[in-house]
């Protein structure tokens, strides 16, 4: 088993809700509420879930772009959560983020060249302006643009090109870990694949490690080695890609998969519908978070945290008390051995 590159343990990010005259904390939005995950170097961890499930907050908390409330994040042996300000700045060179909306994440008043040189200047990677421009040119070529784009402004580019610029900016500090937050959800399908392929090629060439966040299960499948499904701030299932897509064991994963529209009108699928919406992360249901929407719910699900159970596949963790046969609608309790922490992939 190769060394673990990223280890996240029991990470929690709670946002206080302040109300009243004294702005006292009256509750918390538990955006991320105890997430464990591990990732090896050069691999991609795909995070899926619906809006409000805490994917983006998790991504930002791992990088400490949002201060996590508790828990640890260890990146290649360095504890990110305990790093001082100065240490964190050093770490920033190694970990970067690419955001969803390339129309908002690029400064409209700066040329592409300036946008790319800024991180190099801040981290003292280059000693002169010329050197910065030279390196920016190389970056542009690397992401499939060319050097004449250096002196243009973001508004002159299409969405796909802008996302390439955002990728180049993340690469400017030569990182080895990148969190990609829905990098293609603003792009058209005909362009989406171009950007995904670019990301895959860069990963191979530069040995990058990714956390890939998306609500699109098919895109996540295309990109990831291991996939985790989030629901209301917690991972409900986490497994190697093939295992998760072929034999999901958590009912939420199962319903999520069957809700995806299939591009084939002749495919007769049984549309199984979940009822209701995702509850608010302010009032998280007790017990299993999914129980109010789960058709397999029993009294046992309604109280107490559900531990990680070992799933059928290799390195497969499921947060569900039951072994459910979705075809035959049968459920049996899982055997006892409970893993306190998820097993590494």
């Amino acid at each position: 088993m190769a060394e673990e590159f990223l280890v996240v343990e029991d990470l929690k990010t709670w946002f206080p809700i302040r109300s009243g005259l004294l702005q006292r904390t009256s509750g918390y939005v538990k955006a991320v509420d105890g997430v464990d995950l591990t990732l090896r170097r050069g691999e991609t961890y795909g995070l899926v879930g619906e809006s409000g499930s805490g994917k983006t907050t998790l991504g930002k908390s791992v990088l400490r772009l949002i201060e996590p409330t508790s828990g640890t994040v260890v990146l290649d042996g360095t504890d990110v959560t305990k790093a001082s300000k100065r240490e964190l700045k050093k770490l920033r060179r190694r970990m970067q983020m690419i955001f969803q909306d390339p129309y908002a994440s690029l400064d409209p008043r700066e040329t592409v060249g300036a946008t790319l040189s800024e991180p190099m200047r801040i981290h003292h990677i280059v000693s002169s302006r010329n050197e910065a421009l030279k390196q920016s040119k190389e970056l542009l070529l690397r992401v499939g643009l060319n050097e004449e784009h250096l002196f243009r402004f973001p508004h002159e580019f299409s969405g796909g090109q802008r996302q390439r610029i955002a990728v180049a900016r993340a690469l400017a500090v030569d990182p080895d870990f990148i969190v990609l937050d829905e990098p293609t959800s603003f792009l058209d399908v005909s362009v989406q694949a171009q950007v995904l392929d670019l990301l895959k090629t860069l990963q191979k060439e530069l040995g990058l490690t990714y956390v890939f966040i998306s609500h699109n299960l098919s895109v996540v499948h295309y990109m990831s080695n291991r996939v985790g499904v989030m629901y209301l701030g917690k991972l409900v299932e986490d497994a190697p890609r093939e295992v998760l897509y072929k034999s999901p064991e958590h009912p939420y994963t199962y319903f999520l998969m069957s809700a995806i529209p299939v591009p084939d009108p002749e495919f007769k699928k049984e549309t199984k519908l979940l009822t209701g919406d995702v509850p608010s992360p302010v009032n998280i249901p007790p017990g299993c978070r999914f129980h109010p929407r789960c058709p397999y719910v029993t009294d046992r699900c309604k109280t107490g945290e559900v531990p990680y159970y070992v799933g059928k596949g290799p390195h497969h963790n499921v947060v569900c008390h039951y072994n459910i046969d979705f075809e035959r609608n049968m459920q049996t309790p899982r055997p006892e051995p409970i893993v306190a922490k998820p097993m590494a992939s």
Binding site: D188, L256, A259, I260, V262, L274
Partner: protein
């Protein structure tokens, strides 16, 4: 599926330009479309292909800087592009309803759902539902057949009676879109509802006047997949229970595959291919359709390499000559650059705009 009946709505050669400070955007270029009774027609394409502009043109809701250069939209023996703004309002009130992408923008945040829904029933002053106190009877009456205004021999209702009836009707219609506890929802404000519930409320408002056409513009784009599945199922149920045609506008071919009877694929202001859903997926003819289908990842049979279409969508201020797809088309030939392809009917209602056929 053969369509013997004439279409209830037909767009012919519709051309729309937008004036912008950069120049004229040629947003729609001779768009031809037919919408038949009780069908779901999906308009599919990428952003900027003109699918929403087509919807807005049909609804007469184009922005100030847009103007129609030519063509006609025939509905009930009239050309929607020629009738007065007042008449168009009547059409929108009674015949063609619209549902848009973001339910929060289209619901009034300071009015309760009930007030907004009741308004839909009360737009027309002389709309009467008959004198009998049996509201349920009136509702079924109302839901079963189109209410053509006042019926003879029945006295007009007083304001209060009408309000009560509108409330009952609103409850009924919320039940129709599967909103549980409709009495409570009527008193709630849009911000208290989830995205899926808001979208259901908008659908209910659209259905309130029993339209013969529903234009649904990206109605599930802002929703999560599990909720999207609920709304799409609802749309199919409505099609089956009410005699309405739906024009479903979406960028997602998979959504179209699951919901539509026929699909029209649009690219850069042109309709490039129209066929029944099965036919289109079995036998896509236009190179753009073929490529688009390869671009969408399928969860059932994931691939190691995803296709993409080289280049990006053209700027419609200066669209490519001839076929607008030719700069990105792998099978482009000389004539594609020079002449716009004419419509070819390859049988079974499968239409394609391409020089290859």
């Amino acid at each position: 599926m053969a369509f013997k009946e004439p279409p209830i709505l037909e767009a012919k050669d519709v051309t729309v330009n937008f004036r912008t400070y950069r120049g004229e955007v040629k947003a729609l270029d001779k768009v031809d479309l037919q919408l038949y009774k009780r069908e779901v027609l999906a308009l599919v394409g990428e952003s900027g292909c003109g699918k929403s502009v087509t919807a807005l043109t049909i609804l007469g809701l184009l922005p100030q800087n847009a103007y129609v250069l030519g063509g006609e939209i025939l509905f009930k023996d009239q050309d929607l592009l020629k009738i007065s703004a007042d008449k168009m309002r009547q059409v929108r009130a009674n015949d063609i309803a619209a549902i848009f992408q973001d339910p929060m923008t289209f619901l009034d945040p300071v009015l309760s759902v009930g007030v907004q829904l009741k308004e839909a029933f009360q737009v027309q002053k002389d709309l009467s539902f008959g004198s009998d106190d049996n509201a349920v009877g009136a509702i079924t009456d109302f839901l079963l057949k189109r209410n053509e205004g006042r019926e003879d021999g029945r006295k007009l209702l007083s304001g209060r009676e009408r309000d009560r009836l509108a409330t009952d009707l609103s409850k009924k219609i919320l039940e129709l879109v599967r909103i549980p506890d409709s009495g409570r929802v009527l008193k709630q404000y849009p911000h208290e509802l989830s995205g899926g519930m808001r979208q259901r409320c908008l659908i209910a408002m659209a259905l309130a006047r029993r339209p013969s056409i529903i234009v649904a513009d990206e109605i599930t784009t802002a929703l999560d997949v599990t909720v999207q599945a609920q709304i799409l199922t609802l749309l199919k149920e409505i099609r089956d229970s009410i005699d309405a045609s739906t024009m479903l506008i979406t960028h997602d071919l998979s959504v179209a595959a699951e919901t539509a009877d026929r699909i029209a694929v649009m690219y850069a202001g042109n309709v490039v291919e129209v066929a029944t859903t099965k036919e289109l997926f079995r036998n896509p003819l236009h190179p753009y359709t073929q490529l688009l289908m390869k671009c969408i990842p399928d969860v059932r049979e994931p691939v190691e390499h995803l296709e993409s279409i080289k280049g990006s969508v053209p700027d419609l201020i200066d669209p490519p000559s001839g076929c607008r797809f030719h700069p990105r088309c792998p099978s482009a030939i000389a004539i594609c650059r020079q002449r716009k392809p004419v419509l070819k009917d390859v049988g079974n209602g499968h239409l394609v705009h391409c020089h290859l056929y």
